[in-house]
Symmetry: C2
Amino acid sequence: MMNRIEAALTDALARGESGAPPMLTNALRYAVFPGGARVRPQLCLAVAAAHGAEVHALAEAMACGLELAHCASLVHDDLPCFDNAELRRGRPSVHRAFGESLAVLTGDALIVLAFEALAQAASTAPERLAPLVLILSGALGSHRGLIAGQAWESEASVPLEQYHRAKTGALFVAATTGGAVAAGHDPLPWRAVGEQIGAAYQIADDLLDALATAEQAGKPVRQDAALGRPSATSLLGVQGAVERLRSHVEQAVDAVPLCPGEGALRALVRQMAERLVPSSLQQSAA
Amino acid sequence: MMNRIEAALTDALARGESGAPPMLTNALRYAVFPGGARVRPQLCLAVAAAHGAEVHALAEAMACGLELAHCASLVHDDLPCFDNAELRRGRPSVHRAFGESLAVLTGDALIVLAFEALAQAASTAPERLAPLVLILSGALGSHRGLIAGQAWESEASVPLEQYHRAKTGALFVAATTGGAVAAGHDPLPWRAVGEQIGAAYQIADDLLDALATAEQAGKPVRQDAALGRPSATSLLGVQGAVERLRSHVEQAVDAVPLCPGEGALRALVRQMAERLVPSSLQQSAA
């Protein structure tokens, strides 16, 4: 499955490279490769595959679009006017490597490429394109998406659950519901699966920030405390946060609806959850 | 036609406002209203209307998407890491009014809203959505779109025509070809119309930058000289640039293909061209 995702991402970037500004081209590749665990696109493809039929090109495009959108948010999130992060995935962040203006443009271009990837794959199922574009725009957008999540950080008063749902949950919900729509199925039963996985990831991210070294995390840590952001560890303590994380994973597994690949999908969710907290942290939290 | 465009823009922003982060909501409205001349959406709607049938909801959505994309590029273009412009449309630029991080997010959100507007309007003609998304993503994108245009400014060596086509021409070509596709017609004959109008606008922008006061322009001037950017006035002189502009307008008028509203469209192109250079400049250039 990973090969498929890397190939789709490579294609999405390569499509517009010939004759494009060379430094921007390099910055785009740098922002996307080598990637992290690619959990959102994996989840999207797995949901599409769980419906039994051959995976449609739109499922791959949606997986690809979700990862491009995720990468865009990381690039802009690292900018000096946000987290001012020097490191990402263990390397200099995009603005450190390419300068601030190219980092802004890289994030912009990745958002555009995400929608382009969807449209490129829609020819055999044109009626599925509008719902997929709406799922992706909702997950990214200023209402309840990633952008809203980042914008809540600028507000004096932050509704915590809304903030987490927007900043972390939205892309996971888009991964499960988008996988279903791309396969021609009803997205509604898949919402809860995405929501619970998103909530688990938000806690995992808070744990990583609170407990890992920058080397383990591949990015700066103790940002929540430094920037005064609310976090699961400050609210629940480390042990409480780990318990809450496990409870969300169980709820995600329970929420998987009846479908041909139900068992495989439950196994994947558990497997993703196992990697959520590095083993060194599991010990320190145990 | 202007009422229709303002209404479509108002709807596109209002759709996601309830429960969204309030400052981002304000910044989005500030970036879009009050607007400039809305020439790109006007051109798009006029091309759709020139095909004779009632204007499809997708034509309005495409017009709206083009203007949102244009506003996004202005917001990001004004950022300190690009032009560091204090003024836009005679008021403080978005980052001056709302801070840099909200300005980055505002541009991001406007890009997302542009694609969302298209998907919202596609239900009665789903097969037109993919080509329209591809036209919009191409006009914005890192290959030959607005983002590529801005990225060329970071390169040591800039292919001038490619730079101008990307930075100014791409959205005008998207306006004419997008208007045709939204109306269910072949976009190809409309390419040249958009290209010529885009070339005229690029020259008008260079003239404004070289000759107007900041008050006339509503934004900082003499930026091309200050930032060492190539411009039509430095290459052709003022008189030469005005002549070149008029020649592009004539070529645009000549390129309008046979269609029911051919005459009205030619008149609109001429009318747009008349407003291209403020009368005070026409005198100083005469």
